[in-house]
């Protein structure tokens, strides 16, 4: 417990630092994330470019900082949206049972059977071309958030269904709780650990989905950076091995995801 507590503090500080670096990117670097130093493509770390440059000669540190801002604000936002939808619908399905449960689960199955990428491709085809990159990225994460709930819902519903027959709920019913009170005062708080787990799982998932979408032209558009499009270079691993500094975004991503796992108390601590 003590080790976990220490890790939690370290993780919270680290995440605050990473968030801070992203938010105040303009104060940390004086380069533009889009400017191409064409005489220095694929340059290694130097005094001028601490993390080197990318294939077009853009300062990698600057792109990482601005990319952090986008990924760390929008991926958790999309994960939160997904988790909220899954918790509410999963809670209702688990609590009420019957035809409501059947309708919600069938909707989840239907949504899961939709190929997400094709839905997003179709959506992109309908969006106007002159959307700014900023609006485009918000639309992308919003869509991810709205389409990502079914897999979380199944997990949340399974827990909620077990709660339905529990002493806690029986007691609450005996005390005259209405359905909405049961949901918001009893079920949803009990679902918090599993919802939190789904939330942390969803964040890296959305970051990586955004990377895939960027590749398909549906994610963050050039020249706007994100962790997703910074990871594109990993298609060519040997090039990465030759320019190891370009792996920094991967390390930052992994470190951030690990930090997210530790920032909330473990179940032992809660107990």
């Amino acid at each position: 417990v003590r080790v976990h507590k220490s890790l939690r503090i370290v993780s919270r500080v680290a995440l605050l630092v990473i968030f801070g670096l992203g938010l105040f990117a303009g104060l940390i670097t004086h380069y533009s994330y889009a400017f191409q130093f064409r005489q220095l493509p694929n340059a290694g770390p130097s005094n001028l470019h601490i993390l080197g440059t990318d294939q077009l000669g853009r300062d990698l540190l600057t792109r990482l900082l601005y990319g952090t801002r986008i990924s760390l604000l929008l991926a958790p936002a999309a994960a939160l949206l997904t988790t909220l939808v899954a918790a509410v619908l999963g809670g209702i399905a688990g609590l009420r049972g019957g035809w409501i449960e059947k309708v919600i689960l069938a909707s989840a199955d239907l949504a899961m059977s939709l190929p997400l990428l094709f839905v997003l491709i179709a959506l992109r085809a309908f969006l106007p071309l002159d959307l700014s990159p900023g609006v485009s990225v918000v639309v992308t994460f919003l869509t991810l958030g709205l389409l990502g709930w079914p897999s979380s819902l199944r997990v949340v519903w399974a827990v909620a269904r077990n709660l339905r027959g529990s002493d806690q709920i029986l007691l609450a019913r005996a005390l005259g709780y209405r359905s909405s009170q049961l949901l918001f005062r009893q079920i949803l708080p009990s679902l918090r650990p599993v919802s939190l787990a789904q939330f942390w799982i969803a964040i890296p998932l959305f970051i990586l989905t955004e990377a895939t979408l960027s590749m398909l032209g549906l994610g963050v558009m050039e020249p706007l950076p994100s962790w997703g499009n910074l990871l594109h270079g990993f298609e060519d691993f040997s090039a990465m091995a030759a320019n190891p500094w370009r792996m920094t975004p991967l390390f930052v991503l992994v470190f951030t995801v690990i930090c997210f796992q530790f920032i909330f108390p473990a179940s032992e601590e809660l107990a």
């Binding site: 064409r38 992109r124 085809a125 990159p133 032209g217 020249p223 090039a239």
Partner: protein
């Protein structure tokens, strides 16, 4: 007794073996192995419409005339000679004698007639036949003798003889149908999704200068492998001996490891280009249509783009700034008098100023005060085009133009550029497989559906498009090559001045040839690395040497 009786049988092959020089006998044992990047859709040469089948047709098909991929000059093949009539409708082939198909069926003019009738039959739906469709009416094939075939078309076909490079002759009599071939190899085995095994055609008619039968290599194994990285990995392991085309990063990687195997052939035929939507019926705002239809605007954009940087950074230097619709590697048709494109942002601003645009606080505005901003689309997943778009974005920002980049999946992009015309500008590549400009008629004729900046015009929208129409008709109807060349040179000149397409770069052809392969000299034309398959040789394998 038994030992004595076997002795001569043991000696006989040894004697035959000793009497042949290594180059004289086909190289048995080892197979030349390389990859097809897709499943061949057919082995019938007249139905070919995909790259994998085309490669197999090249390796197995016997043709009447062959365009030498290195010199780009037509050479006799199954036909010793040919004559074209003055009206360009009739071609007479004089065939070689004593030639046999791979299964032993004799070759004659009847086979040429059978092939042409089958090819031109509308029920066949042959893409190869498109090159021969010149007008209403049927194609007449006469066979006055076993070694003479006379083919008459309903109307003139420009570049007629050259079109026969794609027509592999089928046997009229062989029960094996299209599997009976006249090319250097025949299809011996095919395992769907895995490989195609070709074996040396024992009846192939060609011999080397010393009179030895060609091809030298006994077996060619074509592995079906879509993944280019796996292909490269297998090549590095020594499992493959050729890679026809590499991308720049693969090439660089290979070049660092072993410069001798990575072959930079130089500028290829393919180019990358950008164009603006000039379609009158599009839903674009009128002021944007006015920009895109303004020659000065297009010229300024062209001058502002740093093509040398595109070639150097996006293609690691394995590309050259593009001059126009014809690559310099097309020796005959390239207009050498075209001026090289210059990167000059100041000149771009001057042109824009003359065209009524002005720069205000770093933003370019048109005469009515609209800031100049547009969106360019390209197909997603093409890293090179995405990088080029990002670089052009920065180039144009230097003259105050804001350009957004949107990548779309290919079907959505095609829908926009061919049907809805809901786009402003586009970056795409042009794949050239044919040297002759006649194949570009649908691009340059204003009525053409591939006249991408403004397709299917009922009448030419501008005087220069009308002039191009006239020149393209002239080159398509005049049998005199000099006149055709002069006409198409002028077309290239007009295109360079008007810039309906802003040509960006011509990509280099990059191949890989293992040190085990002797005689390979990759070229710009397809099939780049194995165009001279007949004369390629394999070094004896180490294993074989150890056994010896």
């Amino acid at each position: 007794m038994k030992r004595i009786s076997y002795f001569p049988w043991l000696l006989l092959p040894l004697c035959i073996s000793a009497s042949l020089t290594p180059s004289a006998r086909a190289q048995e044992g080892r197979a030349l192995e390389f990859c097809l990047h897709g499943e061949p859709k057919t082995f019938n040469p007249i139905l070919v419409d995909d790259e994998a089948s085309e490669n197999i047709r090249y390796l197995t098909g016997g043709v009447l005339v062959r365009v030498n991929r290195q010199t780009q000059i037509m050479e006799p093949s199954l036909a010793e000679s040919w004559q074209l009539s003055r009206d360009g409708r009739k071609i007479t082939f004089h065939l070689r004698k004593g030639i046999y198909f791979s299964d032993g069926a004799p070759f004659s003019s009847e086979d040429v007639a059978y092939t042409m009738r089958l090819l031109m039959d509308p029920k066949t739906h042959s893409a190869t036949a498109d090159a021969f469709r010149s007008g209403e009416g049927t194609v007449d094939v006469q066979t006055p003798s076993a070694d003479t075939a006379v083919i008459t078309f309903p109307a003139r076909i420009v570049g007629l003889a050259q079109a026969f490079d794609q027509v592999a002759i089928l046997s009229a009599r062989s029960p094996k149908k299209e599997m009976s071939v006249l090319g250097p190899y025949y299809v011996s085995e095919y395992k769907a999704g895995s490989y195609v095994l070709l074996r040396r055609n024992p009846n192939y008619w060609k011999h080397d200068a010393d009179g030895h039968a060609l091809p030298y290599i006994e077996t060619v194994k074509l592995d079906i492998q879509r993944n280019r990285d796996v292909e490269l990995m297998r090549f590095r392991r020594g499992e493959l001996q050729l890679i026809n085309r590499l991308d720049t990063e693969q090439f660089d990687r290979l070049h660092k490891e072993d410069p001798a195997v990575a072959r930079n052939v130089g500028t290829g035929l393919d180019g990358e280009e950008m164009w603006f939507n000039q379609t009158s019926s599009s839903a674009l705002a009128d002021y944007k249509k006015a920009w895109f239809q303004n020659t000065g605007f297009r010229q300024a954009i062209s001058a502002a783009i740093n093509r040398a940087d595109l070639a150097q950074i996006v293609y690691n230097g394995y590309a050259t700034p593009a001059y126009g619709p014809v690559s310099p590697s097309n020796h005959f048709w390239f207009n050498t008098s075209l001026a090289a494109p210059q990167h000059d942002p100041q000149a771009a601003l001057q042109i824009l100023s003359r065209s009524g645009f002005r720069l205000e606080n770093g933003t370019l505005k048109d005469g009515t005060g609209h800031p100049v901003a547009f969106t360019v689309i390209t197909n997603s997943g093409n890293a090179a085009r995405e990088k080029m778009a990002a670089m052009i974005q920065q180039d144009l920002s230097q003259i105050g133009i804001s350009m957004k980049v949107v990548t779309l999946d290919f079907p959505a992009l095609i829908e926009r550029i061919t049907r809805t015309f809901d786009y402003e500008a586009c970056i795409l590549g042009l794949v050239n497989t044919d040297l002759d400009p006649n194949s570009q008629l649908t691009v340059w004729m204003s009525s053409g559906e591939n006249h991408q900046w403004n397709p299917n015009e009922k009448v030419p929208a501008t005087p220069w498009e009308a002039e191009i129409d006239a020149l393209m008709k002239e080159q398509a109807s005049n049998p005199d090559e000099k006149v055709r060349k002069a006409s198409f040179d002028r077309v290239q000149q007009i295109v360079a001045e008007q810039e309906p397409f802003i040509y960006l770069v011509n990509k280099n052809v990059l191949s890989a040839v293992s040190a085990d392969v002797l005689g390979a000299s990759p070229v710009a034309l397809s099939p780049q690395a194995f165009w001279n398959i007949e004369t390629l040789k394999l070094k004896p394998s180490r294993e074989l040497g150890a056994t010896k």
